[in-house]
């Protein structure tokens, strides 16, 4: 998995690529811990994410809580969307399809 980070003012955009699973979720966790304190919104671009496991879901929820809801999940693929729907998160998260 790769993460590319872009900063647009106080908004951070993370472009995630590959499998967001148990092995790669800690990388995303590190990325979230290192967000600048002034960050007021976060976008996670899921266009290139092929698979998300429960560990990945946990990081999304952690980010959602960390940003106090100012998190956008952008362009999740069908597989990722299925997982988000199954776990009920689609009702909670701001998802840009």
């Amino acid at each position: 998995m790769n993460i590319k980070k872009e900063k647009k003012g106080n908004c951070i955009e993370l472009y995630i690529n590959g499998w967001l699973d148990t092995l790669s979720a800690p990388t995303l966790a590190t990325e979230l811990n290192e967000l600048p304190s002034e960050t007021d919104s976060l976008v996670m671009d899921f266009t290139e994410v092929e698979y998300i496991s429960s560990a990945g879901v946990r990081q999304i929820v952690a980010a959602h809580k960390q940003m106090k809801g100012n998190l956008v999940i952008r362009h999740p693929g069908a597989e990722v969307m299925d997982v988000l729907k199954m776990s009920g998160l689609d009702k909670k998260l701001n998802i840009e399809e």
């Binding site: 148990t22 429960s54 879901v57 946990r58 199954m86 009920g88 689609d90 009702k91 909670k92």
Partner: protein, 530 residues
């Protein structure tokens, strides 16, 4: 610690040996040279001495032969000063009488007083017979004018005589001048020449060698020794970073020192790394063992629950890394049986404890008689209140009335079960939120009725998300097809299903060890095929 065969000692020894050897060879060659130079000098001085004497003899010879007169005395005085000037032992003049075989001494003079007295007594104006002529005398008779050299050994010691012929104007041999050096004097002169030659050479050789030895030690031996000490120290205790070895020049030795330094740093880093890895692994192993004990205690690997109107079979396949899959099945009262399937995100102790908590809470609440959705909502509230690590669990709960087949179920973000009606198909439950994430879980009770011989299959994502070597998922489609392909003509159809599913997933993964664990639970209603 100095090694037995130290390079330092060896090089010093080699230097000393070379020094001694070159001193010896140059000494010998110098000695030989000095010997010849001394001889040459003797010859030359004898040459000039004989010239002077011949001159004297030309003036005084005829007078001298007659008597001891003034001429004789002045010849004596002259010869005496020649003796002194040329460092001669003595000088004598004699004529040869070859018929009588007599050496007839005309005059003999020595510088030394005692010797002079003896000479005067023994030789002056004396006739001394001889047995045979010396080689030099014979050469003179044959006509040579060159000075001849003889070594004589007499009662007065070893001497070197140089004889020169004195001829008259017709060329006849009138007399022979005998000039004698003491061998001691010639040796002294030889030693003086030898020392004069050898000393500067030897001194410069020694100084040169010492300077070279000093430089070699400073530039090569001492740095190598320091590196060697440093390596020995590092070999004894690799945890300490070795001191930097000082190398005075930018040369191969410094390359060695630099490479060595880099190497020790690498080694230290590797060792450190290995220690950390080992510690981490140990910690991880301990965690995993604890987690496994919790899981094994909470979730048996296989279980079955058989009633008059239902059959339940369940199994788990724990993976190497312990996950948080769990299932539960129990008879709530005489009419109702409950089944639970859940999956906690994360691995290790915290996931195992979370799983234990979730499982216990749900069972408690179901036994208390509240509906599946209410049980999940309450459990969610409690889990959210004590979840610092942000773990969550997806759970599916169902309660079936064994008499009527009415099934009430609720889903908290879990994988949709497969139901067996006329055919196998996925149930499409509402998607309540997984437990532990948000307090408003939005979970609802839903209903379905199972006819006799119908059933429901609960599972975790370890089944559908099992991955093979080509990174392909087992997937929901393949899973459904697999289940459809099973023949359930047995008294224990739930066993056929759970084992069949387990075997199909294992076969799909081939040699690839399943990363996630999986759990499968099958509830069949009132199945009597026979």
């Amino acid at each position: 610690m100095t090694p037995k065969n130290s390079i330092n000692k060896w090089i010093t020894r080699c230097f000393l040996i070379i020094l001694v050897l070159s001193a010896i060879t140059s000494g010998i060659s110098n000695l030989i040279m000095a010997h010849f130079v001394a001889m040459e000098e003797s010859m030359e001085s004898a040459q000039s001495c004989s010239m002077i004497l011949k001159d004297y003899l030309g003036q005084f010879y005829s007078d001298v032969l007659i008597s001891r007169n003034e001429s004789f005395q002045s010849l004596r005085n002259g010869m005496c000063s020649i003796c002194r000037d040329f460092s001669l032992e003595y000088v004598a003049v004699y004529s040869l009488d070859t018929k009588e075989k007599i050496r007839r001494y005309v005059i003999s003079v020595a510088d030394d007083k005692n010797l002079d007295d003896i000479m005067r007594k023994e030789f002056s104006q004396n006739e001394i017979p001889y047995d045979r002529l010396t080689v030099g005398e014979e050469a003179f008779i044959m006509g040579t004018d060159d000075i001849q050299r003889d070594i004589i050994i007499s009662e007065y010691g070893k001497g070197i005589t140089l004889i020169s012929p004195y001829r008259n104007s017709d060329g006849d041999l009138v007399a022979i001048i005998d000039m004698c050096y003491s061998a001691k004097k010639e040796n002294q002169r030889m030693i003086a020449i030898f020392l004069a030659n050898i000393l500067p050479f030897t001194v410069s050789l020694i100084v040169g060698m010492l300077v070279l030895l000093f430089l070699v030690r400073r530039r090569i031996i001492i740095p190598i020794r320091n590196i060697s000490y440093s390596i020995q120290k590092f070999a004894r205790d690799s945890s300490k970073k070795p001191e930097r070895v000082n190398t005075p020049y930018e040369d191969e030795i410094r390359d060695i020192a630099t490479s060595y330094e880099k190497m020790t740093e690498d080694i230290s880093a590797y060792i450190n790394n290995i220690e950390v890895l080992t510690r981490d692994k140990l910690e991880n192993d301990v965690q995993m063992n604890v987690a496994r004990s919790i899981q094994n205690g909470m979730v048996p690997e296989q279980s079955s629950l058989i009633g008059d109107d239902f059959r339940i079979g369940a199994l788990t396949c724990p993976a190497k890394a312990v996950g948080g899959d769990f299932y539960d099945c129990f008879i709530r009262n005489e009419n109702n049986v409950c089944i639970v399937m859940g999956d906690v995100s994360g691995k290790g102790i915290s996931a195992a404890i979370f799983m234990a908590m979730a499982k216990t809470m749900i069972r408690e609440k179901l036994i208390a008689g509240i509906s599946p959705a209410a049980a999940l909502i309450q459990a969610n509230e409690e889990l959210c209140a004590q979840n610092p690590e942000g773990l969550f669990a997806t759970v599916f709960v169902a309660e079936m009335n064994t008499k009527t087949g009415a099934l009430c179920y609720a889903n908290a973000g879990h994988n949709p079960p497969i139901i067996l009606k006329e055919n196998f198909q996925y149930l499409k439950p509402g998607s309540g939120m997984a437990l532990g994430l948000f307090e408003d879980a939005d979970i609802l009770d839903e209903y379905i009725t199972l006819q006799p011989s119908e059933g429901i299959i609960l599972y975790t994502d370890g089944v559908t998300e099992a991955v093979n070597l080509h990174r392909e998922f087992f997937g929901t489609e393949r899973f459904l097809e697999t289940v459809k392909g099973m023949k359930l003509d047995s008294n224990e159809p739930e066993q056929i299903l759970i084992r069949g599913i387990r075997d199909a997933v294992k076969q799909f993964c081939e040699s690839c060890e399943p990363f996630d664990d999986m759990a499968v639970l099958v509830l069949m209603r009132n199945c009597r095929f026979t």
